[in-house]
């Protein structure tokens, strides 16, 4: 039985898994720190979660990311499956809608990442169960603060890209949260 234990693409090699696990802890700590009342008072540069998916370096504001998790069980939902809405993902005792980010924001859905370490992102824009989404991305790099002054908007043509952010890994596309959420909401309309 397929059991939908998604681990698409190449298998995770043990050394990468260890690194990634450490990485994940850092991400979780970052997210916790960022959600604390103290951090809200900081006049800081926004923290962004950087990740790679469908061959693109991408970023999302860390405040809308509820958690980063190992990919667990997923399940299709009859009559509701579409290119963007893939079904349900199990996360911490909940079953949340699982979306294909490639389709949601117009990336290449057929791109195969060679060195894939898939992670489940739980997007939680309003901190309520009914606004939470999940998506599986190819590689999560981590959370970093970024100075908006350094962002470029001149080359962004996609409505889903808010700005281009320079990182040591290259240029990352910072996704436009509102457009992304509108796109997600549309899959149920």
């Amino acid at each position: 039985m397929q059991a939908s234990m998604i681990n698409q693409g190449s298998p995770i090699n043990p050394s990468r898994k260890a690194v990634s696990s450490r990485h994940q802890n850092e991400v979780v700590q970052w997210l916790e720190a960022l959600r604390s009342p103290e951090s809200a008072a900081l006049p800081s540069h926004p923290s962004l979660l950087f990740f790679r998916h469908a061959g693109e370096e991408l970023a999302l504001p860390a405040v809308i990311v509820g958690s980063v998790e190992m990919v667990g069980f997923t399940h299709r939902v009859p009559h509701r499956e579409g290119p963007t809405l893939r079904g349900l993902a199990a996360t911490n005792g909940d079953l949340l809608p699982l979306i294909d980010l490639s389709n949601a924001v117009g990336l290449d859905p057929d791109h195969q990442e060679d060195d894939r370490v898939p992670r489940l992102l739980v997007l939680s824009p309003l901190q309520s169960i009914e606004s939470r989404w999940t998506t599986i991305v190819d590689i999560v790099h981590g959370v970093e603060m970024s100075d908006p002054e350094t962002w470029s908007t001149s080359d962004t043509t996609s409505p889903y890209v808010k700005a281009l952010v320079q990182t040591p890994r290259g240029t990352a596309k910072l996704l436009e949260t509102d457009a992304l959420l509108d796109s997600l909401a549309a899959v149920f309309q």
């Binding site: 059991a3 939908s4 399940h75 009859p78 290119p83 199990a90 079953l95 809608p97 009914e130 149920f188």
Partner: protein, 732 residues
């Protein structure tokens, strides 16, 4: 009343008391109207009014004190023989009861406003209640003189108060969740025990190997091998002891969890009576408004029902009872002319059977004329005459649940606006239940509801469909069978299998649920389900076992998903979707009746190679009928359930033709076609709009939106449909 009431204000407690007494008063008054000399009932009503007065005084709602006092006085006057019960007096008392019932919905802060708004009404009611009523008094008493000699009904017999505990619903939900989790968790030990057993078996093999080695190896290793054997034997003994202990522990834990679960489940259960106390009054008032005479008889009032089910039952029962009185019950003149009692009887009966709650709503009215429905089916174009002629009465009654299908000649304020029974069916189905109609013209009509006893934990068969787990509640399963492929036969309506001398339609559950078709296999795994006279064999890929599942609702954003009732996690942590078997059966029956499913099964074996067509329709029957016809003619067909999904598929795939319905949830056909025509790449895509709406203005609206042709759904089974498809694709 006992327990921790710290979470409730005095006003909360008053409201609860007002609700209890109010319901008793309302129900008692309706009963009193047909039995005005029932002294015990009068005394009970007087006490209820008295208690209500006292409670209102404590929370300082003076207006309510005055009204309840007047009600009490009116009852005392009857007790003392100074007044008699007449229909007018009953009306006055009911009006007073209604006024007091308004308090239940108020917040404490709204009392002053409520008082101001109702002073005049309350004064008037109190005055009326203290004014002697003489109209038809003697007639009322005489008419019911005999009744005074009849002992009080069972319903007014004293009820032993077992005491009650108040628990907030959120806390009860939490206890329920924990109890359910503990029940499920206890079953997980089964896995541990199985693992231990496996380990013990493996250990036995290890010993065997050692013995063999001892025989083969040189004598020098003999001592070491003996030692190893002794250790292995000791550890095996320990393992066996652990396993025995675990068995005992498992048994106790399971027993404990079962008890806990049953106790908590019991506390969730409420007597059926509690959710229907308003109905005798409703039937009484409604029949009077309509110039009819009807009473409601309740049987099974003590049957326990899950409080969620009870709450959700209120709306569908309200509608069905109104429907009975409005359409089922005849006028007094008609009844007398037909030799029936002047007063019609509507019966509401609840009972448990086969692990389900059954509710019957039965009237002794004029019944439903199946021929009237048959004519309407043809007139409205749902079927041609030959098909309609072959429909059984039961199949004809199913049409009454279609949106907008009503046999009422005149729309009334009460029901018959065409938005009734379909809504009832939707509500009942959303509770994982079903509703059926049976009727005998001239004798009456019965609505039969079947519902789950509880909606919290279900025991289910887990089956594999397309590599994922789906749960089929055991209450819907007759049995499961593994059938040899050779025993499948083909018939006009599709595949048939014979099990123990009975023949069943064999249906591909994967195809019905729009998943991958079931994988071919030498052994066919089937679930026999459905009522005795139309049981079917649902084919699945394999059986994965039986489990208790803690039911969770599906994320609300998915809306109502056909064929699914809820979700759960398996003992392994894997998610499982719980199948709404009734809904699957409904779809299967429709598909079989249309011949769509059977054709589809047959056509699965061929590989479509022709032009690619996208069919968008929210009705599975229509979708599958179109798919079957198109596939048979060599087209490759994809389907979508609404405009939004259709639009998604269209953007991703290459299609030569789009066939779309008009009325669909979310993005309808008109919006869908307008959206795609706004894109250059779809400017020339042929679009056939297909709808039951076939008036000229509706046709024009479809064409204006951008449809190439507009067809009536009535032609789907005609050559006109496929000819139009051929023609549209020829002009590509």
């Amino acid at each position: 009343m006992s327990g921790d009431l710290s979470g409730f204000s005095m006003f909360d407690l008053f409201k609860e008391e007002a609700r209890t007494h109010g319901e008793a008063i309302s129900r008692g008054l309706v009963e009193l109207e047909s039995n005005p000399a029932n002294k015990e009932l009068i005394a009970a009503l007087m006490r209820a009014a008295h208690s209500l007065k006292g409670a209102a005084r404590i929370v300082g709602v003076d207006l309510a004190v005055g009204v309840a006092h007047a009600m009490e006085d009116a009852m005392v006057a009857v007790q003392n023989g100074e007044a008699v019960i007449t229909p007018t007096r009953i009306d006055q008392l009911l009006a007073a009861s209604d006024l007091l019932a308004q308090l239940i919905e108020l917040e404490e802060s709204g009392i002053d406003d409520w008082t101001m708004a109702n002073v005049a009404n309350a004064d008037s009611l109190a005055t009326d209640l203290r004014t002697p009523v003489t109209d038809a008094a003697s007639e009322a008493v005489e008419r019911n003189q005999d009744a005074s000699e009849i002992p009080a009904e069972a319903s007014s017999a004293p009820v032993v108060d077992e005491g009650s505990v108040r628990v907030t619903s959120s806390r009860l939900d939490q206890i329920m969740r924990l109890a359910g989790e503990s029940l499920v968790a206890s079953r997980r030990f089964q896995t541990v025990r199985d693992q231990l057993m496996m380990l013990r078996r493996r250990h036995g093999k290890f010993q065997s190997r050692l013995r063999e080695a001892r025989l083969r190896e040189a004598e020098t290793s003999e001592e070491a091998l003996d030692q190893a054997l002794r250790e292995a034997a000791r550890s095996e003994l320990e393992l066996a002891e652990h396993q025995d202990q675990l068995d005992v522990f498992l048994g106790k834990l399971e027993e404990l969890a079962d008890s806990l679960y049953n106790e908590v489940l019991g506390s969730r259960m409420r007597p059926f009576d509690e959710g229907i106390s308003m109905f005798p009054r409703m039937v009484r008032d409604l029949s009077r408004d309509l110039g009819k005479k009807a009473i409601l008889e309740i049987d099974g009032g003590a049957v326990p029902v899950d409080r969620d089910v009870l709450r959700e039952l209120e709306a569908p029962l309200t509608h069905m009872l109104r429907n009975c009185v409005d359409h089922g019950v005849e006028t007094t003149e008609e009844r007398l002319a037909n030799g029936k009692p002047e007063i019609a009887t509507v019966k509401l009966n609840a009972y448990h059977q086969g692990g389900r709650l059954h509710v019957l709503i039965e009237d002794d009215g004029k019944g439903i004329d199946p021929e009237g429905i048959r004519r309407k089916v043809v007139d409205r174009g749902f079927a041609d005459e030959s098909v309609a002629e072959a429909l059984t009465d039961r199949e004809l009654y199913e049409f009454l649940f279609l949106p907008g299908f009503s046999t009422a000649k005149a729309v009334t304020d009460v029901s018959g606006r065409g938005v009734g029974l379909d809504v009832v069916q939707t509500m009942v189905q959303s509770m994982a239940g079903g509703v059926r109609i049976s009727s005998v013209p001239g004798k009456g009509t019965t609505f039969h509801l079947t519902l789950p006893l509880t909606r919290s934990v279900v025991r289910a068969l887990i089956a594999d469909l397309g590599g994922e787990s789906y749960a089929f509640p055991l209450t819907h399963i007759d049995r499961i069978e593994k059938i040899q492929e050779e025993s499948i036969q083909s018939s006009e309506n599709g595949r048939v299998v014979e099990v123990d001398g009975d023949q069943f339609s064999l249906l591909d559950t994967g195809a019905i649920m729009e998943l991958d078709p079931v994988r071919p296999s030498r052994k066919i795994h089937t679930i026999i389900t459905g009522s005795e006279d139309e049981a079917v064999a649902l084919q699945v890929d394999s059986f994965l076992g039986e489990e208790d599942l803690l039911v969770r609702p599906l994320d609300k954003r998915f809306g109502r998903v056909p064929h699914l009732s809820s979700t759960a996690f398996r003992e392994t942590g894997e998610p499982v979707l719980i199948v709404d078997v009734e809904d699957v059966l409904r779809s299967a029956r429709r598909a079989v009746a249309e011949g769509a499913f059977a054709t589809d099964v047959v056509s699965d074996t061929s590989t479509p190679v022709g032009p690619r067509v996208l069919v968008v329709d929210d009705s599975i029957t229509v979708r599958e009928a179109q798919r079957a016809i198109l596939t048979r003619h060599g087209y490759e067909v994809d389907v979508a359930v609404d405009g939004a999904e259709g639009w998604e598929r269209l953007q991703r795939g290459q299609y030569d033709l789009l066939i779309t319905d008009v009325d669909m949830p979310g993005m309808n056909g008109i919006q869908f076609v307008q959206t795609l025509r706004a894109q250059t790449r779809f400017k020339d895509l042929p679009v056939a709009m297909v709808s039951y709406k076939d008036e000229e203005s509706q046709r024009q609206e479809g064409l204006d939106a951008g449809a190439t042709v507009y067809l009536s759904k009535h032609v789907i089974n005609d050559s006109q449909f496929i000819d139009t498809v051929h023609s549209l694709l020829k002009h590509q």
